[in-house]
């Protein structure tokens, strides 16, 4: 079946995210006093075919470990949907 996987890669908690900090500064400027923190990650959207959603998820997990995320600095989560 045809599937769409989204691998969301984020910096590990505790690692300073200068981009997020800069965006927070600008949100402060806009007056959003409610904002306590901003972190920026990325979505990697992958179209693939697999026998099942589970198989696709396992493949995407392998891709994330091998290439899409750096285990030293990043974490990732995977979502799969049918298209």
């Amino acid at each position: 079946m045809k599937l769409k996987g989204t691998v969301t890669v984020a910096l590990k908690e505790g690692i300073f995210d200068p981009q997020g900090a800069a965006v927070k500064g600008s949100l402060d400027t806009l007056g959003y006093a409610q904002v306590e923190g901003v972190r920026i990650g990325k979505d990697i959207v992958i179209k693939l075919s697999a026998a099942s959603a589970e198989e696709a998820k396992a493949l995407l997990d392998e891709m994330a470990r091998k290439l899409l995320a750096n285990p030293v600095t990043e974490t990732y989560r995977i979502a799969v949907e049918r298209v």
């Binding site: 910096l11 300073f16 200068p18 981009q19 800069a22 290439l67 750096n70 030293v72 600095t73």
Partner: protein
């Protein structure tokens, strides 16, 4: 004795390194296209600076899958000298030939400037012509030079003398102000456990001749030549 300089799509310091090795340090040197395999005949390999694969995904992440990298891995495993400068250092980290990873500079700026570095270990094949604690000047030019590793990894690097260069001020103190990118413990360069793989963010090839404003980088290449010459004799 022959050096090889790997050329990835997006490398931009390859010609400078080639010039520093051949014309300044005086060793035989050849370019190695990233699609080649096998490093027969080479005694040392350099991964130059630049933006291999446009730094897409993460610096070095795609470059480490270039065909030549399997040979570089094998070459390093055999104990041959591998030098990674700037983007080359990032590729060595992504390839797992050196521990840790690079984060974007904590200042969010591309930092292009001269920095002071303290030589922490002159006992390596890349630094034998420097003195312990010597402060040298080299240029940096990067956006992702914020070296990061787990505390235990950093402790192990320190214990085993694998932190080779550290960002310092003019007097040799590793202060926060002297750290251009937020690198853990002001680390600018590290070597592998066996000591034959060296990665550094500063550019020794850009300071190997007086006309470039400094010659402090030249001794990296001369140290490598010295090490290879001694190896050849033994």
């Amino acid at each position: 004795m022959k050096f090889g300089v790997v050329v990835f799509p997006g490398s931009n310091c390859d010609t400078d390194v080639f010039h520093a090795i051949r014309d300044v340090a005086g060793a035989d040197c050849e370019f190695i296209w990233h699609n080649s395999t096998g490093l027969t005949g080479f005694d040392a390999v350099v991964l130059p600076g630049g933006f291999a694969y446009g730094d897409y995904l993460r610096s070095g992440a795609l470059a480490r899958l270039s065909p030549v990298m399997a040979s570089v891995y094998e070459f390093a495993e055999k104990g041959h000298l591998v030098l990674g400068i700037c983007n080359g250092f990032q590729i060595l980290l992504e390839a797992g030939l050196l521990p840790g990873a690079m984060l974007p500079n904590d200042v969010l700026e591309f930092r292009c400037k001269w920095v002071n570095l303290r030589v922490e270990n002159p006992g390596t094949s890349f630094t034998s012509l420097y003195r312990q604690g010597e402060v040298v000047r080299m240029p940096i030019a990067h956006h992702e030079g914020n070296y990061h590793a787990e505390q235990e990894v950093l402790d192990e690097l320190e214990r085993s003398g694998r932190v080779v260069l550290r960002y310092v001020d003019e007097r040799g103190n590793a202060t926060r102000e002297a750290n251009p990118n937020g690198a853990a413990r002001n680390i600018a360069g590290i070597v592998s456990e066996k000591g034959n793989v060296f990665g550094l963010m500063p550019h020794p090839e850009r300071c190997s001749e007086r006309i470039l404003g400094g010659e402090d980088g030249k001794r990296v290449f001369l140290s490598m030549i010295k090490s290879l010459t001694q190896e050849g004799r033994s």
